[in-house]
Symmetry: C2
Subunit: 196 residues, 2 copies
Amino acid sequence: MTDRLDAQFAFLIEADKLKQVIRATTLADGSRRENSGEHSWHLALYALVLADQAGPSVNIDRVIKMLILHDLVEIDVGDVPIHSANGAAHGSAEIAEAEAQAATRIFGLLPADLGTDLRALWEEFEAAETPDAIFAKSLDRVQPVLHNIASGGGTWTEYNVTFDQLETRVGQKVARGAPTLWTYVRGRLRSFFPEV
Amino acid sequence: MTDRLDAQFAFLIEADKLKQVIRATTLADGSRRENSGEHSWHLALYALVLADQAGPSVNIDRVIKMLILHDLVEIDVGDVPIHSANGAAHGSAEIAEAEAQAATRIFGLLPADLGTDLRALWEEFEAAETPDAIFAKSLDRVQPVLHNIASGGGTWTEYNVTFDQLETRVGQKVARGAPTLWTYVRGRLRSFFPEV
């Protein structure tokens, strides 16, 4: 039991570093950039509050677990902003490989049974093929949009994002898991993108 | 649907302020104090990783939800450190009343059905009577102990905490929901408290 708890706490203390990974998106009031630890909490809260936007086959408890885990690999790889490098960095094969190595190291700190289970949840999120993962990804994409609206433009201004780019990089992915949610959020974008 | 989503997002944007509530405990590396948003994420991860420490009647999915919500009232009331005012501030009737008012305001931003459900989960956590709430409280108390061990003393030094005080304010509450966990953590306290 002591060896098992040693491993569980080694992982939990390592995970603490996620609070020092800084994202491109700011807090809603624009006062500072968000870190990936607090972002992960906010997304879990999104799942709890927006569960009624999920399809009937979505298990919201699994979505919440995925969102708690989804950014841990950033401890090694950092956050890759969705609009950086003109949208080409996020999801590249190079980043995917680095994240897989990070997952091996970080989930490998856990007792083997638990590490295998939690890594499988993270891989399911990354693959974005199951209803749970698709809905979790929708929330991960929509939260920065709300922060940019609240803070008056945020990363769209910083990265010169057009509405077409936003629709491709963000809107289509939000709509895939939560179509009504994207229709609603899209309607709030008129003052930022006249072409909406 | 638009009115409902307006209310859900008003709540989610308000909740963002929890990332600006600063706690007494530092990050594990001691580099800065932790905020209550990232703390809430870390505790949800604790529940996911330490689920095997919970008794058979504990529903870990409900524990995770409680931990996501448990500190929201701090947006209005602030964090009350467990060792501040010689241990007398935390859990006082005055603080409890202020937190109840904060819950009315904050959960009141949500659509009524959802606000009622989430407030009930928060009240269950606060009351610490059900197995789920007792286990959630154990995790909330044990995480700062691990950070103080990792950072070399932390708030114990700052507030001149004795081992007896730690046992009363923290140990008994961790042991109530997770006895093996406290036995393990207690064993790691010898270098800080010679009387262990």
